[in-house]
Every structure is written in C-alpha cells, then in structure tokens.
C-alpha cells in the first residue's frame, strides 16, 4: 500500500516485539506484515518437535538466531514413555546447520541428543552462545568436549537434569585458555567421581570467566574446593554447591564462611548434597540476600532447616524435602513473607508408614502466612477437603497448584469423602490458575467443577481419578484454555474423546495411559482428524493383534502440520487414513 511505512521502519518497530504471542498476532495482520515479520523473527519456541518439521520452520523463518524445542511428553519424566519413543534432535541440527549459520542459541527439553549432534552444533554455528539441555539424554562427555573446544564465544552451558554418560576424559579442559565468555555453567547433573585434573580445569575456567554469574556444580566437587571457586567468582548470582560434607576442620569452615561472605550478589543457592548441619552456618552471611533456596538434594532435618530458613527473610522460592515437617513450614510462614513458590518433595515415598510429620497443616500454614504464594508442589500422605477450602480462601492468587497425595485414591482422612469439593474450591477461587495436578480419591464431580470454573487452566495432570467418560468430557468441553492434558490410570474411554475431537486441535497434546480408549476409537480419530497425530504406544505388540475394542496401553495425541512422523520405533503406530486402510 502506498501510504504504509517503509519495510525498514516496520522491521525496526517489530524488533521491539519480543513475545511469541505478539509476534504471531503481528504476522496475522496482513500479508505484507506476515512477510516482514517472518524475515525479522529471531527467536522461536516449538513446544512439540513433531508438530512441525525443520524444513517448515526454515522456510518460514530464514533468519532465526534462537531456537527452543521440546521433545518427549512430560510423563517421560516418570518412566511412562518407553525408551526409544523419539524426540531426536539430530535432524533439526542437521537442517539448522545448513540454514542458520548465525544461530546463537539452542534450548532443548526432553530430547535425545547425540554426540554427533553436539559436534555439529559446535562446528556449524560460528557465533554460538547458549546451549541449554534440560532433561535430555543420549550424549556423553565427548559431546560436551566438542562444545567446549569449538564454541569460541560460549556464554551458557546448562545441562540441567540431563542424563549424561560420563566417559571420563577431562572435557572441561577442552575449553581453550582464550575462552573467557562464560556467564552460566550448570553441570549439576554430572557424576560424583571426578579426577583432580577435572577439578583443576574447573578452577582455571572459573578463574578466567569474569562474567560468570551462574555456576551449578556437581556432587563430585568437594567442599574444600568450594571456597577457592567462590573466591575466584565473587560476582556469582547463582550457586549450586557440590557435596556439602567433609571432615569438620575449623580452617575449612572459616575459609568457606569467608568465601561466601565475599559473594555479595548471591541470590540463589542449591546443591548441598550430603549436607552436614554443622556446615550450614557457613552460608549465613549471604542468606538475607537470597531469593531462591533449593535444598531438595539435602537430607537435612527439620530443626536445622528452620535455622537456615529463618535467616532468609527475602526468600521467594523454596524447594525442600518433607523433612521440614509441619513445624518447619509454620516457621517458614512466619519468616518468609515474600515467598512465591514452594516445593516439598518426599524423602521416602515408598515407605508404608510416613517417616515425617508432614501433613495438610503445613501447607495450610504457608497459605495463611505467605500472601504472595502462587506456585505449589506438595507431596504428602493425607489431606482434607477443609484444608483445601482454607488454602483456596487464603490464596486466590495461586497460579500453579500441584498436590500429590502419595497413595492413589486416598480420601479425606477425616470424613472419608472424595476430595472433589476441595479441589472444586481451588478452581473456583483461584481464577488465575494455569496449572493443576490432582490426587487423592476423586469422582467425576471434580471434573465437573474443573470444567465449569478452570477457564484459564493450561495444563492438567490426572491420575487414578474419575468414574466414567463424563469426567473427561467435562474437562475437554469446559476448559477453554487447556493446552496440555495428561492422564494415567483413569476410566476414561472412547465416548468423551470422540465427542470432543475438535478440541484436541486447539491443544498442544493429550497423553492417556492405562485408560480405556479402544484401538477402534484411535483409528477413527486418526482417520477423521488429519491434523492430529494419534500415536498408539503399545509394548504388547501390534494393536491389530488384539480385538479392536481392547484399550490401548498408551495414547499420545498432538496437533501437527508435519503429518505422521517417520522415526517411530516398533511399538508406536500413528493412526491415519493410510494405516486404517492397511489394517482394515
């Protein structure tokens, strides 16, 4: 149009628009805006690597600098997705290596990454800066060595929670002496056996990285080395310690304490493997500045936890074992008025009897005392509807609520009723709730509440709940904002799924395992919905070797413009027209 801005002006304006949603909106205004936007988009997030192909991405966005990809479904974290299912990054790296020579950032989650892929990354992108591998697997320390050796401007190497095969060697020493650009290094997932050479390579690396702000060590780094590292990096903002135990020698302790007090910018602490309570006071000097404390690797008991936490008045995030107990949580509620996120993990999830006194009382206390609390993950063994009512009343600002009562189908322990009403109160009061995980004894009623009230809910996790298809029907027909739904061991079947088939195209994905969806329904869904990939995952053998009405073991449905994928293992079948014709 003659009177519109020149392309350069529009590009410049668009360069201030960062959020994916805004960029998507811009691209829909008109054809010329679509064209301009796609040429100047630099960052992309692909929530399901099978929803689109590398080719499609490259064709639309030729100038990307930052790519984020997610692979396996969330339940892979709990061993529900069989080995070999998929999520391979190699084809992406191969394609991007050719198309994006200026790629700077790659962030992967739950993907299978080979050493070859890492080597390709290290050699294809001259200006590569950021590599984040979150819960990934398939690579070894050899792959890391390529990254260290070849990425001259590396700023971030973050291996959070990945499964890395340690082949020994000394990959840290592969960082050239000229590499001084590191800002963030997270190797906390690496093993606990390290050579002295590795340790000294680490020390030298830290020493020559003046911009290092985030350093998360692995268990292998002994406590007496920590002080040295801290003195070389007093500018750290986040620290994950290595093992936090050693022979108690006064000089080690005072050295460590002194080193910590030199780190005046520290905001986040984690690590603390094997922590010995008497060593904890070494960090007291920086506690008042801490906003994040992750003690979920430390077997510290309640009284020592309380002593530490009460030093941290400005805490916003706390991750801790249930050793903290109700009493500790009450103390937390007293001291930490800025708390926003609490995660309490079970120290002994398989014990028949509880080993600690952590009940619904603890969470109720925190909900009362911490007005900014918005994100909760809580493992415990008992709960009541009343407690849920109270929490909902106290904290209408909750955005993430994940409650895991360890024994499936546990009722309200006082009234013996299902927890439908309690969770109902949560979704009714917490109008901004985006993520919810249910547990305990639950009937279809809870899903009625969720469908009616949880209008902003984006992710829902359900296990051992519900009575019938009605439950699933309520969720699929009511939850307007639902993007991810994961279900295991629920009596949900064909009717609800087929009646809401169109809904599935508005979501990223649906996972159902050990439910009652028949092979027949899967076939129908796959045939009728070409823009959905309906994957049947069944390790018992081909689904057509059993009657069609038999439930499939696992089902993963996701929207895709890429069509059925070509890298499926023998125990995965994509239901589509072709397959249906072949099998009929």
């Amino acid at each position: 149009m003659a009177y519109s801005f020149p392309v350069e002006v529009l590009e410049h304006i668009f360069s201030f628009i960062d959020s994916d949603n805004d960029r998507n909106a811009v691209s829909l205004v008109c054809k010329s805006w679509y064209e301009i936007e796609r040429w100047c988009r630099r960052k992309i997030f692909i929530g399901n690597c099978y929803a689109v192909t590398p080719r499609i991405m490259i064709r639309r966005f030729p100038e990307l600098r930052s790519v984020s990809l997610k692979g396996k479904p969330h339940f892979a974290d709990f061993n529900l997705v069989p080995e070999g299912w998929g999520g391979y990054v190699d084809p992406w790296v191969l394609a991007m290596g050719r198309a994006y020579p200026f790629l700077e950032e790659l962030r992967l989650k739950r993907m299978v990454v080979s050493d070859e892929a890492l080597e390709m990354v290290s050699k294809s992108f001259k200006n590569f800066k950021v590599l984040v591998l979150s819960s990934c697997e398939g690579f070894t320390t050899d792959g890391l060595a390529s990254i260290a050796a070849n990425c001259r401007n590396l700023r971030e190497l973050d291996l959070r929670e990945s499964d890395v095969e340690d082949l020994g060697g000394n990959w840290l020493s592969c960082f050239p002496e000229s590499c001084t650009s590191l800002v963030s290094l997270n190797i906390s997932c690496l093993g606990s056996d390290w050579s002295l050479q590795s340790l000294s390579a680490l020390e030298r690396l830290v020493g020559r990285s003046p911009n290092l702000r985030r350093l998360r060590l692995n268990r292998a780094v002994p406590l007496d080395k920590l002080a040295n590292l801290l003195r070389r990096a007093p500018q750290l903002v986040e620290l994950g310690t290595g093992t936090f135990s050693s022979e108690l020698r006064p000089d080690v302790f005072s050295n460590l304490s002194g080193a910590f007090s030199g780190c005046k910018e520290l905001k986040a602490l984690s690590g603390f493997w094997d922590a010995v309570p008497s060593h904890l006071p070494a960090v007291y000097t920086i506690c008042s500045g801490l906003t994040s404390l992750n003690l979920s690797d430390a077997n510290i008991q309640s009284s020592d936890l309380v002593k530490l936490i009460s030093e941290c008045q400005n805490l916003q995030r706390l991750w801790v074992f249930d050793y903290i107990e109700d009493s500790g949580l009450e103390a937390l509620a007293e001291s930490c008025k800025n708390l926003q996120e609490l995660r309490v993990f079970p120290s002994d999830p398989y014990a028949m009897e509880p080993n600690v006194t952590l009940t619904e009382q603890g969470l109720v206390a925190v909900s009362e005392g911490c007005p900014k609390l918005e994100s909760v993950l809580y493992f415990c063994r008992q709960f009541t509807n009343n407690a849920l009512f109270t929490i909902a009343k106290n904290r209408p600002n909750l955005t993430r609520f994940r409650l895991c009562i360890i024994e499936p189908r546990t009722p309200d322990y006082i009234t013996l009723e299902p927890l439908d009403a309690g969770f109902g109160a949560i979704v009714q009061n917490c109008k901004e709730l985006r993520r919810l995980s249910l547990s305990g004894l639950l009937t279809d009623r809870v899903f009625e509440h969720i469908g009616t009230h949880a209008k902003k809910l984006e992710m829902l996790s359900i296990a051992f709940a519900g009575d019938s298809d009605l439950g699933l029907y309520h969720v699929l027909s009511g939850c307007k904002s639902l993007r991810k739904l994961e279900i295991r061991d629920c009596p949900f079947g064909d009717k609800a799924l087929l009646a809401n088939a169109a809904k599935l195209e508005t979501m990223r994905s649906l996972w159902m395992s050990s439910c009652l969806v028949s092979f027949e329904a899967c076939k129908l869904l796959g045939q009728k919905m070409p823009r959905l990939n309906v994957e049947v995952i069944d390790e018992r053998g081909p689904p057509d070797s059993r009657p069609e009405s038999y439930p499939v073991e696992k089902l993963y449905i996701y929207r895709s413009v890429a069509g059925p994928r070509l890298d499926m293992p023998a125990f995965v079948w994509t239901m589509d027209e072709e397959l249906a014709l072949r099998l009929s």
Partner: protein, 195 residues
C-alpha cells in the same frame, strides 16, 4: 440427576461428533467394561508376564529377609524424577525403589528398560532377558562363562568396565550394574565364553 442426563444426551448428539459404528446406533459396539474403578488391575488376558510397564496392586515383589513386604510399586508413581530418587536416604535405595537399567541387544532396533529389583537372582534375570529378546544362553559356568550360546549377557559396571553377567554375587551386581548389553557370542570371546 438431571444434569448428568443432559450430559448423556449431549454425548449422544449425533450431529457433530465422531462415532463408531453406523449412524443410529447409540452405544459403541463391543465396548469393554472392565471393573477398573477401584483397583489397578487390568482385566486383559494377554498381558505379557514379563512386561514391566505396569505392576498391578496384587503383584508380589521379592522380599529381602527380615523386611516387611514393600508396597508393590506402580510405574511412575509417585511422580518423582529418577535423579531425585537417587539421592534419597541411602538405606531405601535398593530395597524399595526400582533399579532401572537399560538393556540393549546387538541387532535389535531399540532398547528396553528393566527393574533389576524384581528379580530374585541371575536365573530369573537371564530367563526374563531370554523371553524379552527371544534368545537362549545355555549353561553358565565359572570357568567358561556362557558355553555354547549365540548371545551372551554382559553389563557395564560402575567403573565403566564391561563384565560377564553372573560372576559377582547378586547383591553386588545390582548395586554396580549400570546397563546391560546382550552381546553376540562371537564378540564375547575373551570373556571366558567358548563359542
């Protein structure tokens, strides 16, 4: 209740929904109705016995002497990441939580994962592997290893060395085994295997 009747009618509204079977048939034909509500048990008859993708509430797990039977575990429950399990109170490790190791077999297209804790000893383990991958190992002797087998079970231990399955006491094996590999007999020469 009125509301659920209304919902039932909505579910059967034939206009826009996908249905199985010919139009006019209200119920899905041959719908399976197992009583799966109150127990974890699946009512399917052909579940592979050795399938470790789900343990039912009635499966008995091997008990260590002197300990009460640990609760039969459901795979992936409670929903905790494996790396978290690994740093729990050490005394609980091998007894209650699963010791999952990957199993590869030369020539097989994909790997499997098994929980070593559910086997009482080598005999059970090898039998399970034989069933899973459809091969047989013949007899094991200390001197000659797996005599006359086309395939030989081996494992990688904590030190990164590849060892023959069966040499060390079972308990030591469980705590040191990182992964299993079913090797072709011809490759296993030099590990005491006469093929």
């Amino acid at each position: 209740m009125e509301k659920s009747e209304q919902h039932e009618r909505d579910l059967n509204f034939a206009g826009t929904e996908l249905r199985l079977g010919l139009p006019g048939i209200d119920d899905l034909k041959k719908q399976v109705q197992p009583s799966a509500n109150k127990s974890n048990k699946r009512s399917l008859p052909d579940m592979n016995e050795n399938c470790t993708s789900e343990l039912t509430g009635n499966t008995s797990t091997p008990q260590k002497k002197g300990h009460p039977a640990p609760k039969a575990q459901v795979v992936g429950w409670p929903p905790i990441r494996s790396f978290r399990k690994n740093c729990l109170a050490k005394k609980n490790e091998a007894e209650n939580s699963g010791v999952y190791v990957k199993v590869s077999m030369d020539g097989a297209p994909y790997l499997r994962k098994i929980d070593l804790n559910i086997y009482k000893g080598y005999k059970e383990l090898v039998k399970a592997l034989e069933d899973m991958f459809k091969f047989s190992v013949g007899g094991f002797s200390e001197r000659e290893g797996y005599n006359g087998s086309e395939y030989v079970p081996t494992y990688e231990d904590k030190d990164g060395d590849w060892m023959l399955v069966g040499d060390v006491p079972w308990d030591m094996f469980i705590s040191s085994c990182k992964k299993l590999r079913i090797m072709k007999g011809s490759e296993a020469r030099g590990m005491g295997c006469v093929v």
